[in-house]
C-alpha cells in the first residue's frame, strides 16, 4: 500500500532545465521525509507538484490516497503547506490572517475565529494577535505561516525550507513545533539545505540533485557513506605541514587531505572530542603551531561530494524562478537576506 505521500516518475521541465527528472517518493503515514539538496536541486518543484500548485509533465502523485492530478481540490482539503517565505498578509493582523485561511478552508466564521485563538496560543502569538503581521519578527512570521498551514490540522504537511533565514534560537523553536506535530501523527515532507536539520527531524532522507533522487536512507546511513566526522587543522606555517601530516596519519581512518595554500589538513576520524584533545597534545609535542583546529561533522557538501563527486550547486530552481511570473523578486531578495 502506498504511503501518505507517494510519487512515481515525476518529471517537470522549465525550458531546457529538467527541474524534476523522474522523482519517486514514498512517505509512510506518520513519518517524516526530508528532501535534502542545494538550491535548484528540484526540492521546491517537487513540493509544488505534490501540493497541486504545479502540473508535472509526466508522472504520478498521490497524497492521502487521492490522486493529485485528478482531484486537486480534494487533496487541498487534507494538506497544509508552509512555503519558503512566510506567506501571510502583512497588513492583516495575525488573528485576521488565521481567520481568513480558516474560512477559505470552508470553516464557518465562528469556527475559524475559535481555531485562530487556539493556534495563536499554541504558537505564542497571543500577545501579538491584533498587530499587523508587518510588525512581526522573522521568527514570528514563520510561526504565523506555520499556524496558517495547520488551521485544519491536516494529516499531511509540506514544509519548504521551514527554517531558512531564521536565527538559531528561532530555528530551535520551530524544530520543537515540528517535532510536536509529528508526535501527533502528522505525515510530513520537508525540504532543507541543512543536513543537520534533516538529521534532526526526518526519519528518512532523500538527497536530490539536478531533479533526481541520488540517495535515500536514514541520516546515519548517509553519514556512514560520507565518512562521518573529520579533524581539520590549520597550521601556522607551511613548513609545519609535513610534521602535522604525520601526526594526523596516526589518528586517521583514511587519507590526510592537504590544502597547501590555506595550510589546512583534513582527516577522517572516529572518536569525537576526546580524540581532538589527543591530537592537540601530539601536535604540541611535535612543536606544530596551530591557527585553528576543529572537529567537523559532515555537511550537505560532504554528502554531495561523496555521492556525486561535486559540490552542491544551484541551477534548476533559478530556472523555475525565471519561468514564474512574480517568483523571481520575492525569492531572490529573501535568499539574499539569508546569506
Amino acid at each position: 500500500m502506498p504511503g501518505a505521500i507517494y510519487a512515481e516518475g515525476l518529471v517537470k521541465t522549465f525550458g531546457e532545465v529538467r527541474a524534476l527528472d523522474g522523482v519517486d517518493l514514498d512517505v509512510p503515514e506518520g513519518t517524516v521525509l526530508g528532501l535534502l539538496g542545494p538550491n535548484g536541486a528540484g526540492k521546491t518543484t517537487a513540493v509544488r507538484v505534490l501540493t497541486t500548485l504545479l502540473q508535472p509533465d509526466s508522472g504520478k502523485a498521490v497524497v492521502n490516497g487521492i490522486d493529485v492530478l485528478k482531484h486537486p481540490n480534494e487533496v487541498r482539503r487534507s494538506i497544509g503547506l508552509s512555503g519558503q517565505f512566510a506567506a501571510v498578509d502583512e497588513y492583516l493582523t495575525g488573528r485576521e490572517n488565521l481567520q481568513m485561511v480558516g474560512q477559505l478552508y470552508q470553516m464557518s466564521g465562528r469556527d475559524a475565529k475559535k481555531r485562530a485563538v487556539e493556534l495563536l496560543d499554541r504558537f505564542n502569538l497571543t500577545d501579538a494577535a491584533d498587530r499587523p503581521a508587518k510588525t512581526y519578527s522573522g521568527g514570528m512570521r514563520r510561526r504565523l505561516d506555520l499556524a496558517a498551514a495547520l488551521v485544519v490540522s491536516p494529516p499531511v504537511m509540506f514544509m519548504d525550507e521551514p527554517t531558512t533565514g531564521l536565527d538559531p534560537r528561532n530555528r530551535q523553536q520551530l524544530w520543537e513545533v515540528i517535532q510536536e506535530l509529528v508526535r501527533g501523527g502528522t505525515t510530513l515532507l520537508l525540504t532543507t539545505q541543512y543536513l543537520e536539520e534533516a538529521d534532526h527531524l526526518a526519519d528518512t532522507i532523500c538527497v536530490v540533485d539536478h531533479g533526481k533522487v541520488i540517495a535515500r536512507g536514514t541520516a546515519d546511513e548517509l553519514k556512514a557513506r560520507t565518512g562521518g566526522e573529520r579533524v581539520e587543522v590549520v597550521v601556522h606555517q607551511r613548513d609545519q605541514i609535513a610534521p602535522a601530516t604525520e601526526v594526523l596519519r596516526g589518528f586517521g581512518k583514511g587519507e590526510v587531505a592537504v590544502a597547501e595554500h590555506t595550510r589546512k589538513l583534513t582527516v577522517p576520524v572516529t572518536g569525537g572530542a576526546k580524540l581532538l584533545a589527543e591530537v592537540i597534545r601530539d601536535l604540541d609535542a611535535r612543536g606544530v603551531e596551530i591557527d585553528d583546529i576543529g572537529l567537523r561533522r559532515p555537511t550537505l557538501d560532504d554528502v554531495f561530494i561523496s555521492l556525486t563527486g561535486h559540490a552542491a550547486e544551484a541551477a534548476a530552481e533559478e530556472a523555475e524562478d525565471a519561468a514564474r511570473p512574480g517568483g523571481q523578486g520575492g525569492r531572490g531578495s529573501q535568499k539574499e537576506k539569508t546569506k
Binding site: 519558503q84 506567506a87 496560543d121 523578486g329
Partner: protein, 283 residues
C-alpha cells in the same frame, strides 16, 4: 511553544462547491483587501487626489479654450468634461488591481491561496470587488469637487445614479484587464506601469476630453467605437450635460446599451482569461 491538544470541536464544514462557495470565498477575499485598505489609507488618499487634480487642471487649463458644440465658455467645458473625468477615474483605478495581484504573487500569497480548497476565481473576484468599493468612494469625493467647480445634473437623480452604475460597471470590467496584467508580469511595479500605459490611448482617443467630431475621420471612428466613449456618451445623456456626440455610429446613438454590452463582454472575456491564468499562474 505551549502544548495544546490538536483536537478541536468544529461544526461540520460548510457546503462546498458551486456558486455559494464561490461567492463566500470572494467575499472573504474582498474583506481581506478592504481591511488592507484601511491599514494603508494613503493609497486611498492618493487615489482620490489624482482625479481631483485632473478636474482642476482640465477645468482651468483647457476650460475656455476648447469649444463644446460651438460654445467656448469655461463652465460649458467643465460640464462637458466631468463625464470624461469620472470615466477616466474608474478606469485608471484598475492599475491598482493588477499591482495588488502582482504583489500577492510576489509575496507567495497566491501560492497559499492556490493550495487551499477555495474557489478558483475568488482571489481575483475578491480583489476586483474590493477595488470597486474603493473606486466608488473616490467617485463620491469627485462628485463633491465637480459640484464645487460648477458641474450640474439636469435629468434627475435616478438617471444620474444609473450613470454612476454604468461608470462602476466599466471600472469593474476594466479591473479584470488589470487583473490579467497583474498575473502576467513579474513585479508589482511592472503591473502598475503596464496597467496604466494602455489606458492613455483608450481614454484619450475618445470623446472624454474633446468633441470627437473634431478628430480626423479614422481617429473619430476609433473614438466612436471605443468602449470608453460609449460610457462617457451615456453619462452625458443621463446627466443632461453638453457635448453629446451627434455621430451616427451605433454606440453613439445608443450609448447606454453600448456601454452595458461592452462592459459585460469585457468582464466575461477577461474574467475567463484571468481565472485561467490564475489556475496555472506561478507555474
Amino acid at each position: 511553544m505551549t502544548t495544546t491538544t490538536e483536537a478541536v470541536n468544529l461544526t461540520a464544514p460548510l457546503p462546498r462547491g458551486g456558486i455559494v462557495q464561490s461567492v463566500r470565498d470572494s467575499l472573504v477575499i474582498a474583506k481581506r483587501n478592504l481591511l488592507r485598505m484601511t491599514r494603508i489609507p494613503e493609497v486611498i488618499i492618493f487615489g482620490m487626489i489624482q482625479p481631483v487634480m485632473f478636474v482642476v487642471l482640465f477645468s482651468y487649463v483647457f476650460g475656455g479654450s476648447v469649444s463644446v458644440g460651438g460654445n467656448t465658455s469655461a463652465v460649458e467645458y467643465r460640464n462637458f468634461l466631468m463625464a470624461g473625468i469620472f470615466a477616466q477615474t474608474v478606469t485608471f483605478a484598475t492599475a491598482g488591481s493588477g499591482a495588488g495581484i502582482a504583489d500577492d504573487m510576489h509575496k507567495g500569497l497566491i501560492d497559499r491561496f492556490r493550495s487551499l480548497p477555495m474557489s478558483r476565481g475568488a482571489v481575483l473576484t475578491g480583489r476586483t470587488l474590493a477595488d470597486l468599493v474603493q473606486t466608488a468612494l473616490t467617485i463620491v469625493v469627485l462628485v463633491i469637487v465637480a459640484l464645487l467647480v460648477g458641474w450640474r445634473i439636469h435629468e434627475g437623480i435616478p438617471k444620474a445614479l444609473a450613470a454612476f452604475g454604468l461608470l462602476l460597471l466599466l471600472g469593474y470590467a476594466f479591473s479584470w484587464i488589470g487583473a490579467l496584467i497583474g498575473l502576467s508580469v513579474r513585479t508589482p511595479e511592472a503591473a502598475t506601469s503596464g496597467g496604466l500605459i494602455w489606458l492613455f490611448p483608450v481614454t484619450f482617443v475618445s470623446n472624454a476630453f474633446v468633441d470627437s467630431s473634431q478628430m480626423t475621420p479614422w481617429l473619430r471612428h476609433i473614438a466612436d467605437w471605443n468602449p470608453f466613449s460609449a460610457t462617457v456618451q451615456a453619462c452625458r445623456e443621463l446627466f443632461g450635460n453638453p457635448g453629446v456626440s451627434q455621430s451616427d455610429a451605433w454606440p453613439m446613438q445608443y450609448p447606454v446599451w453600448a456601454s452595458l454590452i461592452w462592459s459585460i463582454v469585457i468582464i466575461v472575456l477577461f474574467r475567463t482569461l484571468a481565472v485561467r491564468k490564475y489556475r496555472s499562474a506561478a507555474g
